[in-house]
């Protein structure tokens, strides 16, 4: 192997699948070979059986749908407010000076620590779940969008001014299109983080969703179901990531690396 030498597309795919296979094989040997007690870790075969049971008998598809709805709902709410605020902060330094210290502070408040408080305020219904996602993603989004917008090359702004741009059109015709691919990338990343918050929110005071199923299965010592739930989350994450990447490539062909 030479440092930084690229691999072909085919090799890349087979290597990637190779590790998945190796991982499942190690898991199968550990469980089916009797090295790990069944009580602690279900075998891949049990996991698939349990998963099938979940989908066909227990209506797990509904739980998946409700979890997706919560993540997307809370995330979209956060993005709707974070986008204009982040853009304003990135473009106008006094606005940034006003909000940035507080947002930087709020960003480190763990969303999961708000759950007891949010249950007190909003009950254990959907509002509470959405609020957890909102708190978890909003402050991150604002800060990162502000940095993306403010990170424009100074000479591009100078060029726009010498071409007759007004202050307003420097924001709309230079700062925004310049930051757009990075903002899309930020949305993709933070959506991934929102997935961790939703499961935590569903572990406490919930009667539906993937997280709720996982707590229920823990009470029944059904590790097969737990692992199936975790794998489903991974798969959804992978799919949404792929969709975002695909959309970005088509929306911003000029930025492709």
């Amino acid at each position: 192997m030479k440092p930084l030498q690229p691999v072909t597309a085919q090799a890349r795919i087979s290597y990637g699948i190779g590790f998945f296979a190796l991982f499942v094989a190690a898991w199968a040997i550990a469980t089916l070979g009797g090295f790990v007690p069944k009580l602690f870790l279900a075998s891949p075969i049990t996991m698939v059986e349990e998963g099938w049971q979940l989908m066909t008998v227990h209506g797990f598809a509904f739980d998946i749908a409700i979890t997706i709805w919560r993540v997307v709902g809370g995330f979209v709410l956060a993005a709707i407010i974070a986008l204009p605020l982040g853009i304003m902060m990135g473009a106008y330094k006094p606005i940034e000076a006003f909000f940035e210290p507080f947002v930087s502070f709020a960003r480190y408040l763990p969303a999961s620590a708000f759950i007891p408080l949010l249950i007190l305020w909003a009950g254990i219904g959907e509002t509470q779940k959405l609020l957890v996602i909102f708190i978890g993603s909003f402050f991150q989004l604002v800060l990162m969008i502000a940095v993306a917008v403010g990170g424009v090359r100074r000479d591009l702004v100078d060029a726009a001014y010498t071409l007759g741009s007004s202050d307003r059109s420097v924001v709309t015709r230079v700062l925004l299109p310049n930051a757009a691919p990075e903002i899309a990338e930020i949305l993709r990343m933070v959506l991934g983080w929102a997935w961790t918050y939703v499961i935590v929110a569903e572990l406490i005071g919930s009667s539906s969703g993937i997280g709720h199923m996982i707590t229920d299965s823990q009470a029944l010592l059904n590790t097969g179901q737990i692992i199936f739930g975790i794998i489903i989350i991974g798969l959804i994450g992978l799919i949404s990531d792929f969709l975002f990447k695909w959309a970005n490539q088509h929306l911003f062909p000029w930025a492709a690396r």
Partner: protein
């Protein structure tokens, strides 16, 4: 009356902490006649770019004022087109959209924008590349686009800040001929900053030589070489004599700094 008059314009960068304020430009006075091609020649860091940026309105003068057609310059505007040394095309716009950027700011109709931009793309030799993105073009082609973008706005004066500084020698020579050809045809007032003596002479109807920092004008030399100027003129005896004189002027400055 001159097209552009620079009246005792100076620049002082304010003190930072314990350091003294730095003088980048001693008060400088310079008048540029309509349709003149002035090159500002000086060693690196002599304040020539600062002077150009003050004329563009991108920096404020610490003293003095700049008048364009008798009107004081207050900030950047479309009447002073600028080409930068760095590649400043908007990467998200195609070549034709980049050239039309200023026209769109002025609210020119889409049809007219396309016509003007196409015609400029052709005049700078970019026919066939209209729908490419900047990153698909070489450095020389990007600077051609930047020149077309500035000229499509039909500015009163074209300001260029070492526009060919990052290009290789062959490309640079081609770009000089192209820009000179445009100037000969279109009749524009041009202010061109460079540290390259040959470039300064080849392009100019007048070379203004600046001293090392803090910058001031130390020579103002008319170039009476005939137009149109083919690149072969660079080996003519008049050209070589002028070059020797200017090299000496600059050398004194650079030696003085070390």
């Amino acid at each position: 009356m001159s097209k552009l008059s620079i009246e005792a314009v100076g620049k002082l960068f304010p003190a930072r902490g314990a350091t003294e304020p730095t003088r980048a430009l001693t008060p400088t006075t310079l008048a540029i006649a309509a349709n003149d091609f002035i090159t500002i020649l000086g060693p690196s860091g002599c304040g020539k770019s600062t002077l150009l940026r003050i004329v563009a309105g991108l920096e404020t003068a610490s003293e003095g004022r700049v008048l364009l057609d008798g009107q004081p310059v207050m900030g950047p505007g479309a009447d002073r087109g600028m080409v930068f040394q760095s590649y400043t095309l908007f990467p998200w716009l195609t070549i034709i959209e980049n050239i039309a950027f200023g026209l769109r700011e002025r609210g020119v109709s889409e049809r007219e924008r396309r016509d003007v931009a196409r015609s400029w793309a052709e005049r700078v030799g970019l026919k066939g590349f209209e729908n490419h993105f900047p990153k698909q073009l070489s450095g020389g082609m990007q600077q051609r686009t930047a020149i077309a973008r500035a000229l499509a706005n039909d500015p009163k004066i074209l300001l260029l800040d070492e526009p060919f500084g990052a290009l290789d020698n062959q490309t640079r020579a081609l770009m000089q001929e192209m820009l000179l050809g445009i100037w000969e045809r279109e009749q524009k007032t041009v202010m061109f900053v460079t540290h390259d003596v040959e470039e300064a002479i080849f392009m100019a109807s007048r070379v203004v030589v600046m001293s090392a920092r803090p910058g001031r004008i130390k020579a103002d030399i008319a170039v009476d070489l005939p137009h149109p100027r083919p690149y072969t003129i660079k080996t003519s005896s008049d050209f070589v004599a002028l070059k020797e004189r200017l090299v000496e002027e600059i050398r004194v400055e650079v030696v003085g700094m070390h």
